[in-house]
Structure formats: C-alpha cells, structure tokens
Amino acid sequence: MLTLIACEAKMVARDTAGLIVPIGLPLLILVTSAFSAGSEEIVDGMTALDLFVMPLVLVVVVASIGMINMPSFLAYYRRSGILRRLAVTPASPAMVLAAQAIVSVLQAAIGIALAFVVASLGFGANPPRDPWAALGVIALTMAAMYAIGMIVAAIAPTPNSAVAIGLVAFFIVGALGGMFGGRQALPGPLAEVGGWLPFGAAVDALSAAWAGAAIHVGHLLSLGVTVAVGVVIAALLFRWE
C-alpha cells in the first residue's frame, strides 16, 4: 500500500496543471483579498483576514482538490484501463481509491500549510482560536468535497469532461459560497442558498472555529448530508470500467 501511495503521489506531483489549481488559485485569492481585507479588529483580536479570507482560502484548497483534481485522476484511470490492469493483480481498485484519497489529503495539507504560512508571514494572519474545531471542519469539508468529486468521477466519461464538470461545479458552489466578494454581495435568496451548500457552509463553519465561536449545527449538517448523498450517488453510478 505504501508503494501505491508513493506512486500516486508521484503521479500527482508530475501533473503540473493539477498542482497549479489547488495551490496557485488559493494563494492568488489570499493575496488579492488580504490587501483589501484591512487590519481592523472585528472580534477578540481577529481581523477580516482571519475570519473571512483564511476560511475561504482553505475551503478553496480542499474543494479544488476534491472536486477537480481527484475526479480527473479517477476518470483517467478508468478511461486508460489502468484500473482494469490492476484488477488482475492482488491490488484492488478500492486500494487505488484509498491511495488517491490519502494523497489528496496530503496535497490539501500542503496547500493549507502554504496558505497559512503566506498569510501569517505576509499579512499577519492569526491562527484559529479553536484549532481542533477548525481541523474537524476541514476534515468534514474534505469528505464532503471528495463525495462531490466521486459524483463527478461517476458521471464523467473522460478525464477532460471530469475536469470540465468539476470546474463548473466548483465555480457554482464557490460563487454561491462567497468566493467572489463574499456572500453578502449576492442577492438575498442566492446568499441564503449559498450558505446551505457545502462550500458556503464550510466557510461559515471554519469562520466560527477561527473565532472560537460555536459552530452552527446546520453547517455541519449540510456537510454531513453532502457526504452521505455523494457516497450513495457515487456507489450507484460509479463504474470501474
């Protein structure tokens, strides 16, 4: 299994385009948003950078890996026949999926760490008041985005279509979740919907964890339901060949 994980990591590392989106895009959003966030304290020493920008950036890291990167790899494996080739060995397609998930977690961890280092050193960002709650929300968010990614992988016939569908889904939930200027800039009904979708729910939950405040149960429920629905749909639709 370790060798499989190492090979999966090499595959991901050698996919240049696959690295730019989950690493480069969040950093771009961080830098452009940090300059306009200001240093005014909002609550308990926390600024807009801490409470709004950092949660948004971290969710972008996780969402881009789960909804764009991972489905494209699975679609590639299926289209190219790699899963079929592995099916005649003691390795199972499930092992490949597990290795992909582990590498995705590592990739997300690197993206998150990089974003936090840049935010801290470049813009004076503060760490979350409740780090364990923040980690828990990130983990749940990862599961939710991965579940959406499995649906994308299930319905996309080719790697290119997986990227296309993943990008569309990513930008829709991202836009409704406040990726472009915050949800308060959206019309009321859209902002409301965005808050219940997994991207917006994750940003709000992470923001609460960053401030050390109680996390709204509804946000956690939204992420949990996304995981459940994603798993069920993927199980029904996903084909290894």
Binding site: L2, T3, L4, C7, K10, M11, R14, D15, S80, G81, I82, R84, R85, A87, V88, T89, P90, A91
Partner: protein, 275 residues
C-alpha cells in the same frame, strides 16, 4: 454442457466426423483438480444480443503451455477475461488451480499472472517505478533487475511509460505479469507489435518459464509462435472451440500439411498475419 467425444463438424461440405472437437473429460477422470492449472467447463458470455463466447471447454494441465488460436473477434480475449476473473461467465464455470477466479479473487491473484492485450499502465511513472509498484503486490516477487533483463528493458528503467515505444510497453506489461512468480500465466497476444529480435527474446523467456514448470495459456493468432511454444492448442471460431489437440494432431485431423491450412480447413477463414 460437455461436448461428446466425437462430433460431426461440417465445413464447406467436408465432413470432419472424426475431428475431436472437445476432448472428453472422461479422459482426465481420476486426475485431481489441483493437477489442473486451468479448467473451463462450458463457459459462455453474451452481451444482450451479441454472443461473444458460445461454448468453450478446455483443461490446461500443470506445467503445460496451451495455445488459444483464432482470428480477431473469435472470442479469444473474452474467454481469457472470464478465466482471469475480469468477466463473469453467463454460464459454465472456471477454475484456476482449483479456485474460482471470481469468488476466490485474492488467492487466485497471488498465483496468476496476466498480460492483457493492451498495456494499460500509469503514463507518468518510470519503468522502474512501475516494476516496483507491481512487485509490491506480492509476498515473494522477482527482483526488478531480473524482470527488466527478462524483457530487455534494463536500459529504459528511468524512462516513463508514455515515452516507451509500443513494443517496449508490451514487454513491460509481460514483465509485470511475471512479477509475482506466478504458477499460472495468461499471455494475450504476447508478441504483437514486437520486432523479430524482441519476439525471439520473448519466446526464450516463455521457454524458460516452461522449464520452471509454469502453466501458460497463450492467446495468439501467430502460427509460428503457437507451433514453437505450445504443447497443445485449441482453435476457436465464432465463440466455440473447433479443435483441441497438439499442433501436429490438429494438422493430422484436418488432413493438411500445415497448421495454417488446418485452421483454414476447420474454420473456413484465414488467420490474419501477426503484426
């Protein structure tokens, strides 16, 4: 359904009444199933209205090299996929060393090596990385050096799979099939796409496996290859076994001078030349 010992086979009006279409399994009664490397009894595969394999029965003994010869679309690959456990037969049963490749998947995968017709491997991984990946699936694999030497890819160990030529990719696929020291090996179009030198090298590798007692199912449409390597062969046409015997036995049954002519006589069609 097991075919009777003698069956009338009419091809272009010629009666091959005495052709042994399927060997009677009574011939092998008394032999334990563990002495049989591969057993397929009346396997068939249909996709909606398409019958890919109608009725195939064959038995490959331990240490035997058995050839499955047929034209494109005859049902060779589907037969092999059912034996390898990649597809469930619509009817019939398959055993590999006495194990069901669908239900005893984990055990079968430890003793069975399969080289598929198309080499589907991770394009961005290097040859050495792929070899070590596939070796990691087995408890007692061959060394990476041995595997690469067997297929003549020692110089390409740092090349990525996508940058290998078609023949090199094929040779790597064969090496990976042998990574786990399998007791039974399925090779689908072993030398398709290989140059003559590489082809002979592969034949030498197969002869080495035979010497080691490995049971081999060789799928091919190259006459010279099956005549050289196989102890027995089966001719398959339209999803059915038409003849099953030693190469010389089939030539004698058909009353022809060569296996080529025997194939044409028994199936009524030409076999495309190997690439």
């Amino acid at each position: 359904m097991i075919s009777p010992p003698l069956q009338k086979v009419m091809v272009e009006g010629r009666d091959f009444r005495h052709a042994r279409v399927c060997p009677p399994f009574s011939t092998f009664e008394g032999m334990s199933s563990t002495e049989t490397a591969i057993l397929a009894e009346g396997i068939a595969k249909s996709y909606r209205r398409t019958v890919a394999v109608a009725d195939v029965s064959l038995r490959i003994e331990a240490g035997e090299t058995f050839g499955l010869l047929g034209a494109n679309g005859a049902g060779k690959t589907t037969t092999v996929e059912m034996i390898a456990g990649l597809r469930a037969p619509s009817q019939g049963r398959v055993r590999v060393l006495g194990l069901d490749p669908r239900h005893d998947r984990a055990k079968v995968r430890q003793v069975l090596g399969v080289q598929l017709q198309q080499a589907h491997l991770h394009g961005a991984l290097r040859v050495s990385e792929l070899v070590n990946l596939y070796r990691s699936f087995y408890p007692n694999p061959r060394s990476a050096t041995d595997l690469l030497e067997m297929v003549g890819l020692s110089e390409q160990r740092r090349d990525t799979f996508e940058h290998l030529s078609g023949g090199q990719q094929q040779r790597l696929s064969i090496a990976l099939a042998l990574a786990g020291r399998p007791r039974v090996v399925i090779l689908d179009e072993l030398t398709t796409g290989l140059d003559p030198a590489a082809r002979r090298r592969m034949w030498a590798t197969i002869e080495g496996l035979k010497h080691d007692g490995v049971s081999i199912l060789l799928v091919s449409h190259a006459m010279e290859e099956v005549e050289r390597l196989c102890d027995r062969i089966a001719l398959i046409d339209a999803g059915r076994i038409i003849a099953q015997d030693t190469p010389a036995g089939i030539v004698a049954q058909a009353g022809t001078d060569s296996l080529d002519e025997a194939f044409v006589a028994l199936t009524g069609s030409e076999l495309e030349a190997a690439e």
